[in-house]
């Protein structure tokens, strides 16, 4: 007799990781795109001037991302036809139910925003922008919450996860915006300033959270030790290489050195690197978090 029946498959594969990543990106893109309307007067109007030309493109990008995310999430279900059930049979203790509610609402906000832009109903922009931004915030929040409420999994069940996911979405959203602005040649100085500010914040917080995670895992319980060993043995490259060095340390260095960080090309590079990190950090957390139970 061998240990044959310890076999099982873990619930969430790459679809979920990609979804988490893209939805975060969509959310932050929305925030950038709606910034002229929502934060127009803050930062001395920096957001307005920097993002004004990006509004429509950003909203369309956000919509495209959402249109990828929705079907991806639905296709990942064992019963795609029942994708409305979480709303139909709404269960208030399940973040997924909330997420299912927010997701279409968020979509409506994008469409509404675009509609307002197209029909020049400028007075609509701010309220839709604020509502949309809140829902945008809810996207990475709920995905993080989805993990956080799994109280049985110590890697996930801590309040930093939603925060981390929000922060990671800032990175990935910034990357998208930076790339688009750079390519379209609309990377103005104000835009650099704004993006730099957000990226610096995001990468620095990610760095802090990474360190916190590292400390917690190392001073951890049996389960944390186990996860630590899984991370190092099965996801060593993703964790240390992709996430830490490429995704956090490298962009952090780039944005922290004022001269480099305000170079449009290097800033874009830093943003892209941080987005890579944002993906692989989530992937490691999602995968390794499940493997602990796989053989139990």
């Amino acid at each position: 007799m061998f240990e044959y029946m310890s076999l099982n498959i873990a619930p969430w594969g790459y679809e979920i990781t990609i979804y988490f990543f893209l939805i975060g990106m969509a959310a932050m893109t929305f925030v950038y795109a709606s910034a002229p309307a929502v934060y127009g007067n803050l930062f001395g109007g920096a957001a307005r001037s920097a993002m004004e030309p990006f509004q429509t493109t950003g909203m369309i990008l956000s919509l495209i991302l959402l249109l990828i995310c929705g079907p991806l999430l639905i296709a990942d279900l064992g019963q795609p036809g029942r994708f409305l059930y979480p709303i139909l049979y709404f269960h208030w203790t399940s973040p997924l139910s909330w997420g299912s509610l927010f997701l279409p609402l968020f979509g409506l906000c994008i469409v509404g925003y675009l509609f307002a832009l197209a029909t020049k109903r400028t007075s609509w922009l701010k309220p839709i922008g604020i509502l949309g931004s809140l829902l945008a915030l809810a996207m990475p929040l709920y995905t993080g919450l989805d993990l956080m409420v799994q109280q049985a999994r110590e890697l996930w069940s801590n309040p930093t996860i939603p925060v981390l996911f929000v922060i990671l979405s800032v990175s990935s959203g910034t990357a998208l915006v930076a790339v688009v602005l750079r390519i379209s040649g609309k990377m103005t100085e104000q835009a650099v300033e704004l993006l730099h500010w957000f990226l610096y914040l995001a990468v620095a917080v990610t760095f802090a959270l990474f360190l916190a995670e590292w400390v917690v895992l190392n001073y951890g319980s049996a389960e944390k030790q186990q996860i630590w060993s899984i991370i190092n043995s099965e996801y060593g490259w993703e964790y240390w290489g992709l996430t830490f060095l490429i995704g956090i340390v490298a962009p952090l260095i780039l944005v922290a050195i004022p001269k480099l960080g305000r170079n449009a090309n290097l800033l874009t590079l830093a943003a892209v690197l941080s987005a890579v990190g944002a993906y692989s950090f989530r992937a490691v957390l999602i995968y390794a978090g499940q493997l602990g139970q796989l053989y139990y």
């Binding site: 007799m1 061998f2 044959y4 029946m5 076999l7």
Partner: protein
């Protein structure tokens, strides 16, 4: 099983009456907290909640014959469960039993007779009807009979051969052969455990013990895997756990590798293969010399004296046994003392010690431990098996007139359960002739030692001109047949049963729980049809033995006249209940059988001490040894003025001293002989094989639940032995014996002796349907008519079907019991060579031929025999000649 102590209705009534009084005190307080939910007996669909129809049957997923209830939904068997009324099964089935219904719906089951169209073994078949098939077979048989009659040579009838493996027909197959006048009945008992039988029968009558596991305090297991296999796996495993956990009995287990039983035991010892006898003799030595024996029992109930035994055992010291087995003398001494002083105690043994050349000696030595400690037939001790008989319909055909060389080779006069392994060698040498070869429930091309020899043999149309198989599955053997007349599965046929699988004797029945699938026909009906076609007008005098209109008539003839059962409804009672008698209920908390008031129905003990009645004694005579004879038959034994029935031996005592052995130059007392494997060279290892809890021999690899649990059989090798050969866990290895080699993988483990390697059976099928071969995604062969299984076609996830070891296992016959020395093959193991691939098999027929010549030298008339028995004081030059005479007893194995 005919040779078990028979219990008649009178005993049963007595037993029932006595039961009320016992056990009341023991159970009273515990009953209050019994499991509140019902344990079984009804069943509901998990999807609809509807009650399911239930039909009792007797399991044959392996051969323990547990009682079962089949649940049927929309004409389909959906689930099996143990029959709560079966006193030994007690409502439980093992993994195989639970999965047995999958046999019916095996997508690769054969649902119509097939006749070969291509070359033998080529796999080309034509479907024919049962009528055409039985006509063809009858015609082939009739040709032989006609030839025998014209030439007036009854020995020609022995050219009709029936070889079976698992035969639970209750005498039908024997009746068929005897009706045809042939004694060429070959069966698998000699590859199974016959040396155990021959070690026991001359000593106390029956061929097995029935331990009172639940009530014992000490169990010494020699090479039986009680919790996984062995006779009687499910019932014994249940009661062993009750004994060890519930009754705090100690379990000491001897096995060369850590089986589940040895892993469960309080102490596990791994002796050198084939040395259990030395250990048992050394224990007997300690018990005798330390005066720990039961002097009264030896005096009253055996044919030896304590002094005689001491003298015989003198040299078998624990130190000697340590030298032979590697088990420390101190442990042997301690265990012997514990065994003798803890009462009650029992041994159990199965194939481990007996599947060696001289296995019968080993069994006799183990058996003796119970005798000298007086544990025989005691509560909690080593009891006689309790079976029940049933009458055979009259008229019964006599045996054939001439003994068959194939069935009863004259070199093995003590092998009362035949020797079948030699058959292909003998036919190939022209010593015997075959005209019609039939197989029933038999797969020698897979299950026999040097199995390649069987495949070669059965493929050869000169040696086997006509070959018919009655199998419902396309096995390694059946695929070589000319004609396949499929039987049905055990859930679709009739058989009478009685298995001594516990201390409560009972009868049980096998009956179709659903209509045979796809219009298939049970073997019993095929036999009737063939006989009716061989002798259509009855002029040959054969037909009258098969004067049944239906199979039910036949069953009625078995069951309707049994006293006691008759009053309760006979066959109809069994059809309804599945088992008779019904002793009581299973107490859900203690699992004991209890009566209506919750008092334990205690088993009957001391069967040998039953006293003969005055009418029994009428006209009986008592001889000088106390044996009571009536009409020339020993019926009992007189001991200090009382007349007991005693044991089933000529003297009615336990005959530790076996005159029959001595006659042929064997030691009459239990002894130990060192085997050639004991002289192993340093680089060699002893190859053993074993069974696992979730498979039965060759026939479960296609049951998906079981295959999922266990589908490959890498070779167990100890960490040190592997390291010495540079072998790492999982490495591809070449295992080479003198017959050939196989290429398999190493499973490096601490759970095995460093000088032994072990490969389980039941995997590595080159045939037996698609799932067994992991070809489930291929299209069904055209002979397979079973329904498609989306589950099997899509969800099978494993990719390794194992490698079968039998081709490289040497033929070796125990000269006493006639059984195969399965665990007597030496091998070398090395990392696979370049070009080797997993599953490669190479086996030489010539090498097996040499093994055949070699093994005959151990037979009583062979040269090695005499050399090995210097201590036996007989006229060696006046040994009885090897003559074809005994016809032995064909048995169910």
């Amino acid at each position: 099983m005919k040779d078990f102590a028979q219990i008649n209705r009178r005993d049963f009534i007595k037993l029932g009456a006595a039961a009320g009084a016992v056990g009341a005190a023991a159970l009273g307080s515990r009953r209050l907290v019994a499991m509140e939910q019902k344990l079984g007996g009804e069943d509901f669909s998990a999807t609809t909640g509807a009650a399911r129809e239930s039909v009792p049957y007797t399991c044959l997923a392996c051969n323990i014959e547990d009682g079962g209830i089949a649940y049927v939904e929309n004409g389909r068997v959906v689930k099996l469960e143990g029959n709560m009324d079966h006193p030994n099964t007690r409502g439980k089935l093992c993994a195989k039993g639970n999965s047995g219904f999958l046999h019916i719906y095996d997508p690769d089951r054969i649902l119509s007779p097939l006749v070969r169209t291509g070359k033998r073994g080529e796999g080309k078949w034509k479907r024919i009807s049962y009528d055409e098939a039985t006509t063809l077979l009858a015609q082939k048989i009739r040709e032989v009979i006609d030839r025998a009659n014209t030439e007036n040579k009854p020995e020609i009838l022995n050219e009709i051969v029936l070889k079976w493996g698992r035969n639970r027909t209750g005498g039908a197959a024997e009746r068929f052969m005897h009706a045809l006048g042939s004694n060429a009945i070959l069966h698998h008992t000699d590859i199974c455990e016959s040396s155990k039988k021959v070690g026991l029968e001359p000593s106390w009558g029956p061929d097995i013990e029935s331990c009172d596991w639940a009530n014992t305090k000490y169990i010494l297991n020699f090479g039986s895997n009680i919790l996984e296999t062995a006779y009687f796996m499910n019932p014994n495993a249940q009661r062993l756990v009750d004994g060890v956990v519930g009754n705090k009995a100690k379990l000491v287990s001897f096995d060369v590798r850590m089986s589940n039983t040895s892993g469960f035991a309080d102490e596990w010892y791994a002796p050198y293969p084939g040395t259990d006898g030395a250990i048992a003799l050394a224990m007997a030595n300690v018990i005798m010399y330390e005066d720990l024996y039961d002097a009264d029992f030896i005096r009253d109930w055996t044919n030896v004296t304590a002094e005689q035994l001491k003298e015989h055992l003198k040299t078998f010291t624990p130190e000697y046994a340590e030298e032979e087995s590697g088990i420390a003398a101190a442990d042997i001494r301690r265990i012997a003392r514990e065994f003798a002083t803890t009462k009650p105690a029992t041994t159990f043994s199965y194939r481990g010690p007996v599947k060696h050349v001289y296995g019968s000696y080993q069994e006799a030595a183990i058996h003796m431990l119970n005798v000298i400690t007086g544990n025989v037939e005691k509560k909690g001790g080593y009891c006689l098996p309790r079976g029940m008989g049933w009458p055979q319909p009259e008229p019964e055909p006599p045996k054939g007139r001439v003994p068959s060389l194939l069935a009863t080779p004259p070199e093995y006069p003590l092998a009362s359960h035949h020797v079948s392994t030699l058959a292909p060698y003998r036919v190939r040498k022209g010593e015997a002739k075959v005209s019609v070869w039939m197989t029933f429930y038999d797969n020698p091309a897979y299950t026999y030692p040097s199995s390649h020899v069987w495949a070669e043999f059965l493929k050869d149309e000169n040696l086997v001109p006509f070959f018919a198989s009655f199998s419902p599955f396309m096995s390694e053997t059946t695929e070589l047949a000319d004609l396949i007349i499929p039987d049905v599965t055990y859930l679709e046929r009739h058989d009478p049963e009685s298995m001594p699988s516990g201390l409560y004797p009972c009868l049980s029945i096998r009956q179709p729980v659903v209509k045979p699938l796809g219009g298939t026909q049970e073997f019993r009906q095929t036999l009737i049809d063939v006989i009716h076609k061989v002798d259509p007008d009855g002029s040959l005098g054969i037909k009258k033995y098969f004067a049944f209109d239906t199979v039910s008539d036949w069953m009625r003839a078995h069951f309707d006249e049994i006293p006691g059962l008759k009053e309760e409804g006979g066959y109809n009672f069994l059809k309804k209940k599945g088992v008779w008698p019904i002793y009581g209920k299973v107490d859900p908390n203690t699992a004991k059988i209890v009566d209506r008031n919750g008092n334990e129905v205690e088993a009957d003990y001391g069967l040998h001490r039953k006293e003969l009645s005055a009418s029994d004694m009428e006209g009986a005579e008592v001889d000088g040894n106390g044996t009571i004879r009536k009409n020339g038959k020993a019926i009992g034994v007189q001991i200090r003025g009382r007349n007991y029935v005693g044991f089933g031996t000529p003297s009615r005592k336990i005959e530790l001293y076996k005159e029959s052995f001595k006659k042929f130059g064997f030691n009459p007392l239990p002894t130990y002989k060192r085997l050639p494997t004991r002289e192993r060279k340093d680089n060699e290892l002893v190859l053993t094989t074993y069974k696992v809890n979730v498979h039965t021999q060759s026939r479960t690899a296609s049951l998906k639940y079981l295959a999922e649990l266990y589908h490959k059989n890498p070779m167990w090798i100890h960490t040190k032995a592997a390291a010495a050969r540079g072998i790492a866990d999982g490495d591809l290895v070449r295992v080479t014996s003198s017959v050939g080699y196989i290429v398999t993988r190493a499973h490096v483990t601490e759970g095995i002796r460093p000088d032994v390697v072990a490969i389980s059976t039941a995997c590595g099928h080159p045939s037996y349907g698609r799932l067994a071969q992991l070809r489930q995604r291929e299209q069904a062969p055209d002979w397979a008519q079973g329904a498609a299984s989306p589950d099997i076609s899509n969800n099978v996830w494993w990719d390794d079907r194992g490698v079968h070891p039998n081709p490289i296992i040497r033929l070796a016959v125990d000269p006493i019991g006639g059984s195969q020395g399965w665990f007597d093959t030496l091998v070398t193991v090395s990392k696979a060579q370049p070009g080797d691939s997993y599953g490669d098999v190479q086996a030489s027929v010539e090498a097996s031929d040499r093994d055949y010549e070699e093994t005959l030298r151990y037979a009583y008339n062979g040269d090695i025999h005499r050399k090995n028995h210097p201590e036996v004081d007989i006229e060696w030059d006046a040994l009885p000649p090897a003559e074809l005479e005994g016809v032995g007893h064909p048995d169910a194995g």
